[in-house]
């Protein structure tokens, strides 16, 4: 009986797992507190395993933080009171050519850049309200003042 319920649970979990799509550019791996993803008019909860797409806006609340791994192995986390727009993303897994543009309107970021930035020094850009950051690699932090 116990084995049956475990099997059943696994089956239900499989049914509930988000369907993979070619539009997916990354996955939420870490989440804490209030975090959601704004996709057009849709407001999606950011859960471990939630897949993100181009044009998604990642929003964290006063107690929220979130970590996302992208398909080029870029790791990115946003701290409390952040708004991050994933403006542009493309990655060719054969050539490693690509483009990664994100905009931090408020809050803070930690970034470990991946294969896109390694392939071409101008391929990854983070925008803030007052600056443009060209990423040559690999680990850095960004904070936009005024959110506190």
């Amino acid at each position: 009986m116990k084995r049956l319920s475990v099997t059943l649970l696994a089956f239900v979990a499989m049914l509930m797992a988000p369907v993979a799509s070619a539009d997916d550019i990354g996955q939420v791996k870490v989440t804490s507190g209030a975090v959601h993803i704004q996709r057009g008019a849709e407001r999606l909860p950011a859960l471990v395993g939630t897949r993100v797409r181009v044009s998604d806006t990642v929003v964290t609340g006063d107690d929220g933080s979130v970590g996302i791994t992208f398909t080029d192995n870029t790791l990115l986390s946003a701290g409390p009171r952040s708004t991050l727009v994933l403006e542009q993303y493309a990655f060719n897994s054969t050539t490693h050519d690509g483009k990664f543009n994100a905009r931090l309107d408020r809050g803070s970021l930690a970034v470990v850049s991946g294969k896109i930035a390694k392939q071409a020094p101008d391929a990854m850009v983070i925008k803030t309200p007052s600056s443009l950051l060209g990423v040559r690699g690999t680990e850095f932090l960004v904070k936009v003042e005024g959110a506190e």
Partner: protein, 201 residues
């Protein structure tokens, strides 16, 4: 914009732009030492000036209108201001290199050990994904090697599924001859370059 606004011409537009610029919230960037022991670089620009951060904890603050201010941050400051953010970084992807018994799709003993480790990691990581990347040597054309490397990766995928890794958690890629372990001239038969890499992330 009103007609009156238009009549003020370029001067007032420039003033308005400058005012908009000055009211933008400042942003601080801190370069961290890389975990692999090397430090990368970030180019910070604010439209007027630019500066390159390329040493550990090099920091730039752009505030719109004024020049970019530089300093070196302390580790304590990083912990205090970015502790929560850094704590949410996803785990680093791990990397395995698999080799095959000559001319077969049988894993070597060493590779079997690595595959067992992959299974452990898949169970432990949050929303684990397995990326299988094929590589070739430089025998044959680039196009052919792109196809061959992808086939190699897809074959490994079919070997991983029965071991318990869900199909929708595995992605494949073929890098062709672009990333040799041992760099060689074209058309050299080099066994070390015929391999499959697995990233678990």
């Amino acid at each position: 914009m009103t007609r009156a606004g238009l009549r003020h011409g370029a001067g007032s537009i420039l003033l308005a732009l400058l005012a908009a610029c000055a009211s933008k919230p400042p942003a601080t960037v801190i370069l961290l030492p890389g975990q692999d022991g090397t430090t990368g670089a970030v180019v910070v620009s604010d439209g007027e000036s630019r500066t390159v951060l390329d040493t550990p904890y090099a920091t730039a603050r752009a505030s719109g209108g004024q020049s970019i201010a530089r300093r070196t941050a302390s580790e304590q400051e990083v912990k205090k201001d970015f502790g929560t953010t850094l704590a949410s970084l996803p785990p680093r992807p791990s990397k395995y290199t698999l080799y095959f018994l000559l001319g077969t799709d049988q894993f070597t003993d060493e590779t079997q050990k690595q595959v067992r480790q992959v299974l452990v990691e898949v169970a432990e990581r949050p929303a684990a994904e397995v990326v299988v990347i094929g590589h070739t040597d430089r025998v044959g054309t680039e196009l052919r090697n792109d196809q061959l490397s992808l086939q190699r990766a897809q074959r490994v995928k079919t070997l991983l599924i029965p071991l318990g890794i869900p199909e929708n958690r595995i992605v494949t890629a073929g890098r062709g001859e672009r990333e040799p372990v041992v760099p060689t001239a074209d058309n050299v038969d080099e066994a070390k370059n015929r391999r499959v890499e697995i990233n678990v992330r």
